[in-house]
């Protein structure tokens, strides 16, 4: 059974950073339709900071919790915005979920992932259907849990999560939240994918790709 080392986690974050950098323009454009056009910019600033911070870590010394906490702190301080507290909480919760472990087996990694999704929901208090990244994170979390219960491999678990996140992101196109801004926007919010859900799909897919090769 594969185990995930601190170095693997660092590589995972670097892969996410590269994916976001590649796709940042699409994410900002999506945000331009229903938000303030900066989601790609913000995510890129955040993951660039994570990349730089992790570059300073000695992975022979740092445990997985330290990798997560370092990511959380650097992301948050570079970013603020909505994504900052959401992802910082996600990473911190992942770190807490695997506290004390020096490497992560499949179950630990699945718990870490579920803790991320839970952290995002706790921090933002968004409900399913509110047209946020929660609409990608929650289905992904449920899918990974089910796959783990079926005792699938780490790679298969994350593949299931990635598919669920993508479907969740896609589904935000049909959402027209009943509250706040959306009640003025009415039909105008329909048909567009939530940028935060789009970046979630990208992040989880990148995770699945990385784990497919470990």
């Amino acid at each position: 059974m594969t185990t995930i080392t601190s170095q693997n986690l660092v590589d995972l974050f670097l892969a996410i950073a590269a994916a976001i950098d590649q796709d940042k323009e699409r994410l900002s454009e999506l945000d331009g339709v229903i938000g303030d056009a900066d989601h790609g910019v913000t995510m890129n600033i955040g993951f660039t900071a994570v990349k730089n911070a992790l570059g300073g870590l000695d992975t022979t010394e740092a445990d997985p919790t330290t990798v997560f906490n370092t990511s959380a702190k650097s992301f948050l301080n570079a970013v603020g915005a909505s994504s900052g507290p959401l992802y910082a909480t996600a990473f911190m919760r992942a770190g807490a979920a695997v506290k004390g472990e020096s490497a992560l087996d499949r179950n630990a990694m699945v718990e870490a992932f579920k803790a991320m999704a839970k952290g995002i929901q706790d921090r933002g208090k968004a409900e399913r259907g509110d047209k946020t990244m929660v609409d990608a994170w929650l289905p992904a979390s449920e899918a990974i849990e089910a796959a783990a219960e079926r005792d699938e491999s780490l790679a298969a678990c994350f593949a299931a999560a990635a598919t669920a996140a993508e479907e969740g992101a896609e589904a935000t196109k049909t959402m027209q939240a009943s509250k706040g801004r959306a009640s003025w926007l009415g039909a105008r919010s329909l048909g567009h994918m939530d940028p935060g859900a789009a970046s979630t799909a990208l992040i989880v897919r990148t995770m699945a790709d990385v784990f497919a090769h470990i």
Partner: protein
């Protein structure tokens, strides 16, 4: 689009550097926390501290309101992005005079999360923190969901009134009370004519047709109530005032203050043409104007458009609005 900038990644740091160099008598950066800007002559023992903040790109909001008689400190975010908790906490510690600190900022998901995290951290350091969100943007949610509304240019009135109360050494309860009252009586609607672009993308943040305007667009380019054909200044003003009058409930003989705010590239000439109509309409309704501000108070980089804000004054709010303040980018009284 074209901008006079250097590396977009350094733009906030460079802006703040240039700002501190321009206004050393008013503003200072905290050691080790450069995104925390504090009034040189503001915070003091026994005074409620006022911390404001939000994304950059709205200059002179919010840092321009840091100064004696208004805000004590401002936490600075990236362009159109809330600051993270750390600089907010540092601001809080720097302005705490033992009488508590009030966070005043516009109601955006990101700001709420970051300021709330900061409040938790400050509380752990035994500083009492209260939060008052501004929600003056009528166009961002229906009346029965006022707490969902965004805060926009009306911040000006709300900050100024709360800052005046704090400068008069009112208690945190009283400061919070008048800030909430000011917010409840402040109403803004804006229209956007053309987009801005973020320094990092240099692309328009939204698209709009040559003959169109967007009613109720947010100060980051978030979609508003409707997209309509561009109309005359008087028509646009009338439409905005209808919405504001519909909520303000100011009887004949009431008193208001007016803010006609440029979103960036709409020049003073147009703002004054608009103010002419506002004054005419208020006069016709028997509402008197205590004071009028016209200019760029809360911008969206170089977006074209403007917003109208009215605050329905009472004697207490009038006194606080008249209270003198001396900020880097704004003085009154």
């Amino acid at each position: 689009t074209k901008k006079l900038i250097n590396n977009a990644d350094n733009i906030i740091a460079e802006m703040l550097d240039g700002m501190i160099k321009a206004h050393p008598k008013h503003l200072r950066q905290l050691d080790g926390s450069p995104r925390s800007i504090v009034a040189v002559d503001g915070p003091r023992e026994g005074k409620v501290g006022i911390v404001v903040g939000g994304g950059s790109g709205h200059e002179p909001s919010f840092v321009g309101y840091v100064g004696k008689g208004l805000a004590d400190a401002c936490a600075i975010g990236n362009v159109f992005a809330s600051p993270p908790p750390d600089p907010i906490v540092e601001c809080t510690k720097a302005v705490s005079g033992g009488a508590g600190v009030i966070y005043l900022y516009g109601n955006y998901a990101g700001d709420v999360m970051n300021f709330d995290m900061a409040a938790e951290m400050a509380t752990m350091e035994d500083i009492e923190v209260r939060t008052v969100l501004s929600t003056d943007d009528i166009a961002s949610a229906p009346f029965d969901q006022k707490e969902k509304r965004r805060g926009v240019a009306g911040n000006f009135f709300i900050f100024k009134i709360a800052g005046g109360a704090a400068d008069k050494m009112w208690s945190i309860d009283e400061c919070e009370r008048v800030a909430r009252k000011a917010n409840a009586r402040t109403f803004t609607v804006g229209v956007a004519l053309s987009p801005c672009s973020l320094p990092q993308t240099l692309r328009h943040n939204f698209e709009i047709g040559a003959g169109e305007m967007e009613i109720g667009m947010g100060i980051h380019g978030e979609p508003g109530i409707s997209r309509e054909p561009l109309r005359s200044a008087d028509d646009v003003t009338d439409g905005i005032l209808e919405r504001i009058f519909g909520e303000m409930n100011a009887p004949e003989g009431a008193k208001v203050a007016v803010l006609v705010n440029s979103l960036g590239s709409t020049p003073l000439m147009e703002l004054y043409v608009i103010n002419r109509r506002i004054a005419e309409r208020l006069g016709r309704n028997g509402i008197s104007v205590h004071e009028t501000w016209v200019g760029t108070y809360c911008s969206s980089l170089e977006m074209a458009g403007m917003s109208i804000t009215l605050i329905h004054l009472d004697d207490e709010l009038t006194e606080l609005l008249d209270h003198p303040c001396d900020c880097a980018m704004f003085r009154a009284g």
